[in-house]
Symmetry: C2
């Protein structure tokens, strides 16, 4: 997707409003007001609230998809691959936690093909992560534990990172990354 | 809180509806309809949707609070204590995932003293868990990693268990527990 500067601004303002008030409660008028422009000007750039939602969510979902595909295809060790997945979630959390909140809270407001496309990307992401873990179990890098428990434990933490890290900005990103890798890979005991 | 059988039935039906449609969208009429009784009879037992929400959320929050207080006060090892916290979350997930969904999705609809009481219990719960981890770090049972990262990683997984386990009922509770303890305490590598 090619996005103009003005569109990027609209997306950022809208994502913030969606997070604060919930997608359903926000109107195009609210978005225009927050940008200090007329609602009519807003419609010059974007045709609906739905279009904004699609731009926010699909862009992030495509980034997750393309990076994990690249990680999966690489010839790194499983541990290196998982470290890169952790890095990916931290990077996007630091860069765009509002869009992540929108993806997690509001994806169900997507419609038709966008909804199907999003769900497909989400399932493919989990499947790519499953393949990484599976090959790690097969080559002995990862313990032979229930694979679904491993996937759930890891992804539940990474996917909710944006909620928690928003309140804990005192932890530096590099400290966060190093500790997250330790806790998720090697445990706390 | 002392709850009659009829109240328990109302609570269970309501929790299910709240999960399906969202708290705001459910009416007292919907609850009466789902129970196949007249709305007027419903009001003989319960005075408002708000009262139902309080009964659902506060009961579960009080259970979490009293069990973790008991765990914290016990003279078990830190590892045994964490295992019991994991067990607590699995037990409540198996027994009452609808109420957990309600607690997680709808707590912000509590009002006044109920909201204050709930937030206090939630903070106290985290604080008790923090004390368990802290004393484990102090006595060398737990690795000296960033304590906030440990707390977030563990609780984010345990608190979202009900979402995931609802879809993965094929994993037996004892397998779930054993694997969860392994993954959260000893890691996957």
């Amino acid at each position: 997707m090619k996005i103009t500067d003005r569109k990027t601004e609209i997306i950022n303002v809208a994502a913030k409003l969606f997070k604060e008030k919930g997608y359903s409660a926000v109107t195009m008028r609210d978005i225009a007001q927050a940008m200090d422009i007329k609602a009519a000007s807003l419609y010059n750039h974007i045709k609906s609230k739905q279009e904004i939602l699609v731009l926010i969510i699909i862009e992030i979902a495509e980034e997750f998809t393309s990076v994990i595909d690249e990680i999966l295809a690489s010839d790194e060790t499983t541990i290196q691959k998982i470290e890169r997945v952790i890095q990916l979630h931290i990077d996007i959390t630091l860069r765009n936690s509002e869009a992540l909140a929108c993806l997690n809270n509001d994806w169900m407001h997507l419609t038709d093909d966008d909804l199907i496309y999003f769900i497909k990307m989400r399932e493919d992401y989990e499947e790519s992560f499953r393949k990484i873990i599976k090959s790690g179990i097969a080559n002995g890098e990862i313990k032979n534990l229930n694979i679904e428990v491993i996937i759930f434990s890891t992804l539940s933490t990474l996917r909710t990172l944006y909620i928690w890290y928003g309140k804990k900005k005192t932890i530096k990103p590099e400290i966060l990354k190093a500790n997250m890798i330790q806790v998720l890979l090697n445990g706390i005991v």
